[in-house]
Each structure stands twice: as structure tokens, then as C-alpha cells.
Symmetry: D2
């Protein structure tokens, strides 16, 4: 990082606690759920299936950044209320995206983790706004961001006094068109070497392909990722957003079974299915 | 654009008028000035030199998006006031960047053209905010944005009712490290074919190298660009931002002399030095 | 170039002479013809049309590198003989690609300029083989080659004693999919600053799109290119290779008319249509 | 693959046998050794250390493709003879690179596996030449090759009648400069889905950084790679080529210990240290 003294360089262990889940410790934490909150029904079905598998953090977008202004862009605060309902019912924590610095206080009332999406990685007013909350922030890597730029973006949040930053690798843009993006799994050990921040991987956006979510998840954990952010939808074919990369609850359950031995092989435990296995 | 009917597809000629300058017509329009507003003195010296050369639109950043939170990030509203002073004195129009949707109304009081920077090309709340003003918007292409994504970003502004969008190619991120970015001059004729929007080129950010500003400017005009956005600083070595790519006023004057025959070769006039030549 | 003393760093003017054509001097030289030699008829029709427009260097591939082993890969030595026939009849010089170090002596008997394609830019045995001939070599930039790597590839040829290297920018691979490649026109002035070698641009492969050949050609010349390599086919729709980027002879003639004032604007003459204009 | 019927599409299991090692089956095969053959001493020390750890395939370059014509480019046939000596003494199989179609028969006399480097992935005469041998071919992915292009390159070899092709992912060129290349580990499951060919990963070239070889190796195996190609040098600081990415024999031994549980977690065995553990 070019001789700069950064808060991100601090090598003290930083574990981030959400409810009774610790991110950045000995457990591999799974955050799962639909790309977008579409309806109460969709959300309760998904959350129910995930909770049975021990998932404690539910993802779901109420504000969706979309390339086209004419695409479905989320239910807004109504979606946040649905997430809150599910949280109240299931006890699951909520991670959801915030796009507008203005809306940070409002979203922070509903969310347990604030997500900053890859398009906003260098939206500096937004970084400062989430840096001024006391909520953990999941900071996705920008599509064309170097690791150095990504850590500087984290530094914007840390510099405001919020030390709870979780980094999320979600694929970078390259010439390869077979996958939606090219997942840069090397970023996991590099970030681990350079900083004390937890890092997770989003295999769903990184690949854009249902059947690649499983192997990329395994690779990520083998390389030291602290967790995964996975899209699960009860009926991917009818999803309003990113159906082709969503797992069904059954596929997700199979993935957890295959992930567990990888977690053990690297000296960790899989957070998610502890309950189920006990 | 995948069968979508977009406002950007409209092939009616759209000329955008700023003061007595028409962007998108027979004239090649030059916007020039320092990367960042640093002081009244710096701004007046630069603006004075540019006005003598016929430049009618002054650029200068008061809000600067910077990779590091610890770098100089502009003078904020004080900078805007300095720009207004210069505008009042010289009659030049002002183009300046806005980063926060909140601040759009305030910046719009000072600026004649609102600039959305490349990091914010998909900052959708910001696009909607500038789309709700009546000021022309210069929309820079994102570092890793396809032309399709860029036009969809323009569509966000147009869809709010503001038809005055100027596109600005400023280089994309590739593997080549000799230049700061790789200028994609093909984007100029492609955008001209696909839309009715004016497109200009920023050779300063596109290359990051002083001596490449001249040839890239000539290439851009030969390929049909409606204008150029060029960094000029009275003393590039002492610039607080991007000095290595800024032209001195003398270099800028030389560039205009070389640009004029290129403009003529493509059937246009160079807006800038009309006065000087008369 | 990292402190290395390279032959490419030599700033003495290097003009390369092919017949009575000088490449690297005051004239913008046009090399044109079909992507692949398909038949005698196709070649004679094309060459006849080009010769009338003053073109003195005919391009045509007899050995075609193709992604798939099942695609048309050229007529081989039969194609070279057709090129020789046309050359004997029209007096035009021939540029054609060589792919195999073994075949360099054979191809060099037929060709006036040996072309090394972008896939072979770092095929070092091939570079050494063409470096051991006394024929000018046109060295295309690799799809993912930095300018530094490209100049080192030229150095392989120069180091064998052959000083007649012409560099050819033909687009690099980026994330943008609208065009076949992204033409890096900045490479033209950079190469001019760093070396004494002539540089030309191939707008046909760089864009892959018929209607972009014209504007990219104009940009290239405005930025200092010493020439252009352009695909022309009498019937692009029936071309066995790269038809979608080939110009008809009529489109090519129109291009020359538009190029001439650009050449003048940068203090050069267009080599090609001298005859026609006299 | 766009509707083409390719030999690479054949889903029959293809295992490739080298001595008593089977590539593509239940074992994860490790090929290791120095980047370049430098001397008999260097080679015997390295091979001795590797043999003790159960490595059965020794890598070492005698013909080295180098960006600069003035860099060390290998010992040529003398290097091949040293590899043969080591093979005779240790019983290890040899994998080494061939660059020139001419030299394929000669290199094939010494090598058990012929390596085609990434710069030569689309050197079609070379692909055809190795396709005409009866030796297994390791085909590295080109720096800017899509997976589709890579499989077509394999098809060139298969089409000549040689079915023994091993694919090797070694990183692609992206904008990220922290690592030498960006390893595209998604390619492993994609290739597994599309073809019957074994695929291995080269973590040394993919990252260019000593401490990343370990995590990338683990990720590759977790994602289904059939093996690894790893640079090991007795004294990396004095290596004539790529020292900064070579492991010491001690680091390599540590890696094997960490790899074994990952192999088990995905239902495979680590070929290499079977002996040691028994």
C-alpha cells in the first residue's frame, strides 16, 4: 500500500459479531437468501428453508442497482419491512444493500449488516455515511477495482470510526465471457496477508452460473475465506433478478454437505449446519 | 441495445446550449481548466489564459473523488464560490463534478454543466438527482463500463426528463500499464451511430501523460468527437492533483493550433480560438 | 523499457522501402486487400480495383491462423503463387503472413513484406527466423501484449540483424464486446516517442465492424500513424474469412477521399491516390 | 462451443498414463521442479528432494520463452540431456517445454510430457506437430485466451490423432497488478463440465508470488483440479528465472501436508506423498 499507514494494515484480529455469529473467527459463516426481496411469501419460504439448515444471516435486496432504469429495482422500504418481519419471526439477522447516502440511517434501522455493492465501491459519500453508523458493513469489491483500491475504499469507512468492515470478493471484469465475472480467489489470501479484516466470497455474482456456485464456494473456503454470500431462491426460474445463478434450497443443502469437509481440512467449522448435525 | 426502446436511441439531433456555445453541432467545443480548484489565484491565472484563447467553458473540481481518504479532496462549496467569481468576472461557463445526490441542488446553483465522474457512472441515485435538474450533465464512462452500460446510465438521466446529456469517453481499464487508462476512441463513432447525444473525449485522464494529450485530442476530433475536456494548470509540477497529465497554457495554445486543421478536415470549426483568429 | 539498451531505442529515422514506396516518411501508406486469398478471380478483381486507386501494396493471407482447426485456413503455397501472379501483372508489392519458422524461406520468396500475426507476437523461433531474412517484417501487436512486450518482440527481429520492422496496432483484448477488439490508438504516439520504427494501424481487425474502419483510419492518421492495413473484398458477404469487417472497393475509395484532408492536416501526403488525383 | 461437434466434447473418461502415474483419475498428481534447468547440480539436488516426497514427474525448462531476447533462454538440448540423466537416475518422468515445431521430434525423445506454453497456445503449427507425436501434451491456457479458444487449441492436437491432452490453467491477464496474473480457478469446473480432458493448475506462474502458491494450490484441488504444476528451486534467490515464485523444498513439503486433507475432502488421494506416509 505504498508506504501509507492505514487502519486496514492493523494486524490485530478483528472479529465482527452479528447476533451470536462471529465473522472472521474459526467458523465459516454462510449468508444466504434471494437476490431481491420479491414478496412476503417468497421471503418466508426461503428463510424457513435456510433456517432449518442453520443459516443465521439472511440476504435480500430491497434497493437493487440495475443496469437499466426500466428493470425491477426492488421494493424499497416495503422490502425492508418484509425483511424485518422475517427477522422477528425467525431470529435471523439481515444483510441488505444501501445505495444512497441519504437512506443509510433508514436502512440501518432494519439491517444488521449494511451492504455496499460493487458499483458503489468508490461512492465516497456512501462509504462515509456507512462509516458513521455502528452497523457492520459488507464492502463488495468493484468490478474493475484493484485490491489496493478496494482496501482504500475500506479505509474510507474505517477512517470514520466504524471498524466493522467485511470485505467481499464477487468477481472482476475480464475478457472472459463464459462466466459473468472472473472470480479472483487469490484476493482472499492477499487480503488476509495485508489486513485484519474478514473476507468472504460471493460465488453467485462472481460466476453467474448455478452449477459453478458449488465449486467456487469450495475453492473459497479452501483458500481461507471467512464466509460465503450465496443466492438461494425457492424457484430460480421465476426470480425477478439473477435467477440463473440462484441455488434451490435443495442445491444449497447439498453444497453445505460438501463444504463441511473442506472447512475441517483448513481447520475451521462450518457455522451453518451445526444445529442440523447436532 | 437488445431490442429495448430507449430514449438514447432517438436519432433526432440533440444540441445542447451553454451560454452561446452549442455542443453537438458544427463546432468542436473545448472545456479546459485545472483538475482541482486550489485557490483563487490559481483559478484566475488559468481562466485568464484560457479566455484569451477563446475557451468559453472552464472546468475545475471542488469535490474530488480520491482513491485514498487521506488525499486532497477539494475545497467543497468554497471552491464552487471561487468558480462562480471567475465566471462572473470572465463570462466563462462552469463545469464541475457532483458526487452526492444530496448536494446536486447546491452544486447546480453554481455550475452550468454538472459532471458525473466515472466512479459514479452507475450511482443510480446520483443519476436520478441530476436527471431532475434543468442543467446539462456530462456523464463520464465508467472505468469498466461497456458502451451499452454507459448508454443505460445516460438513460437513467433521460428517463427523469433531463434530455441534456453529454457523454465523455475518458479511458477504460485494461492490462496496459504504460498509460493510466486505455482510451477507447472507437466509442466516439459507435455512440454517434447509436444515439443522438453529443460525445466528447477527456484525453488528460484517458492517458495520464502530458505528451499524449495532444495526439489523443487530434484522434478524437478526427473520429467525430464534439469536444474535448482538457486539464490545464499554470504550474503542473505544483498541482495538488494530476499534475503529470496537465498541460501548461503554452502547451494548450499549441494544441489548439494543431487541432484547427483537423477540425476543418472533418468539416467542423474549432470553437475555441475563433476570437484569436479573427 | 527499464534501463535496457535496445536497438528499438535508437532514434535515428528508419524508413523502410518496398519498391518505390517509403514507409515511415512523409507519406501515409495504405496496404489493402482481402483477409484471405480465396481464388485467382477474387484476387485479380480486388487488386485491379485497388491499383486504380493507387494502392501499391496488396495484402492477402495464404496461411490463415484460425481459432478452430476446422475453419478455412488458407490456400497455402497455391495462394502465394496467386499473389505472385497478381504482383507480376500489376506491379503491386505483396504482404502476407507466415506462421511457421520452417516456412519463412519459402514465404520470403513470394512476399515483399512478411507479416507476423498477433497470435505469434511472442513466437520467438518465428521472430528469429524472419529476423534472418532481408525482407521487411510487419509485426502485429499481440492481443494481450503491453507496448513494452511488443517492442521486446521487435527487438528479437532486430537482434538478428534485420532492421526493417514495421509495427502494427490491431486492437487489444478488453472487456468491451461491442467491438472485436479495442483499438489502442495511443500506442501510435507512444511507439513514435520510444522508437524509430514505423507504425501502422489495422482498423479492420481492431474493430471487426465495417462502418468503424473509416473513423478509426482517420483517428490513426491524425495521431501519427505511418500507414493503414485495410481489408477490402469485392463481395464481403461471401468472404471466407472476416467478411463483416471488409470494405467494398467503393467504401474503400470513399475512405481515401476522407483520409486525404486528415493527412494534410498533420503535414503528410496520402500515398495511395496520388495517381488518381493527378 | 457453438454447436460444433468437437473431440473435446467427448465425455468418455480420459485418463492419461505416464509411467505408473495416472492423470485424470482419483489421484491429485503433482509435477514439480525448477522453472529452468540451470545445471546438473541444481537439477539433482531438486529432484532428490522431490523424489523423497514422492513426486514422480519432474518439470524443468530447457527452452525458455523470454520477453527479452537478452534474457537467459535455457540450455537447449544440453538441458534436455541433464533432464534425461536425472530421469535415468531417479526414475522420475520429465515434463519440459517445446517452442519450435522443428524441434518437437528431438524434444519428444527426452520428454515424457511435452509442454506447450501460454504464449504458444495458438501457435497452430506447433499444436499440429505435438499432435503428431505419441506423447502426452500439457497445453497451457494463453494469457488472453477464452476457455472456448483454449478448447479449440486442444482440438488442434486431438484432430491430429493425439488424444493425450492435459489442460493447464496458469492465470490470465487482467487489470490487477498485485499478482503476476489472475488465476481463473472457475476454469477448472468449467473444463470438467465441457470436456473429458484432465486439467491441472500452475499456481506459480498464475500468481508470481511465493506465499500465494500454497492457498491457490488448495483452492485448485478443492475445485476439482487433477493436479498441480509447481516451481521448486533449492535456492530461489539465485534462480536464473522466476525465483520470486519458486518454493523451497521445505515450503513444498509443507504444502503437501496441507494439501492432503483437501484431497480427501473432495474424495481424492494425493499421489505424491503416499510413499512418505506409508
Amino acid at each position: 500500500m505504498e508506504g501509507l499507514k492505514l487502519i486496514t494494515d492493523n494486524k490485530l484480529e478483528t472479529n465482527i459479531t452479528v447476533g451470536d455469529t462471529v465473522i472472521g473467527g474459526d467458523e465459516v459463516v454462510i449468508m444466504a437468501g434471494p437476490c431481491a426481496v420479491e414478496s412476503k411469501e417468497q421471503l418466508f419460504i426461503t428463510a424457513g428453508a435456510l433456517k432449518e439448515l442453520g443459516v443465521k444471516i439472511l440476504r435480500g435486496g430491497a434497493f437493487k442497482p440495475r443496469t437499466s432504469p426500466y428493470a425491477f429495482s426492488g421494493l424499497g422500504e416495503d422490502g425492508l419491512k418484509m425483511l424485518q418481519d422475517v427477522s422477528n419471526t425467525t431470529g435471523m439477522a439481515i444483510i441488505t444493500e444501501v445505495m444512497n447516502p441519504n437512506e443509510v440511517p433508514m436502512v440501518a434501522e432494519y439491517a444488521d449488516i449494511l451492504q455496499v455493492g460493487s458499483r458503489n465501491m468508490q461512492n465516497f459519500p456512501l462509504l462515509q455515511a456507512v462509516g458513521n453508523t455502528n452497523k457492520p458493513v459488507l464492502l463488495k469489491r468493484g468490478l474493475a477495482a484493484t485490491i489496493t483500491e478496494w482496501l482504500f475504499a475500506a479505509e474510507y469507512i474505517l477512517a470514520e470510526g466504524n471498524q466493522q468492515v467485511i470485505l467481499c470478493e464477487r468477481g472482476i471484469r475480464t475478457f472472459e465471457t463464459y462466466t459473468r465475472n472472473t472470480v479472483d480467489l487469490s484476493a482472499v489470501p492477499i487480503v488476509k496477508n495485508l489486513t485484519n479484516l474478514p473476507i468472504i466470497v460471493d460465488p453467485s455474482h462472481a460466476t453467474g452460473i448455478n452449477e459453478l456456485v458449488n465449486p467456487v464456494s469450495k475453492g473459497a473456503v479452501a483458500m481461507g475465506a471467512d464466509g460465503l454470500l450465496i443466492e438461494v431462491h425457492p424457484n430460480p426460474r421465476e426470480a425477478l433478478c439473477d435467477g440463473e445463478q440462484s441455488l434451490t434450497p435443495e442445491q444449497f443443502a447439498d453444497l453445505l454437505v460438501e463444504l463441511e469437509p473442506i472447512c475441517k481440512a483448513v481447520g475451521k467449522r462450518l457455522h451453518t449446519i451445526c444445529k442440523k448435525n447436532s
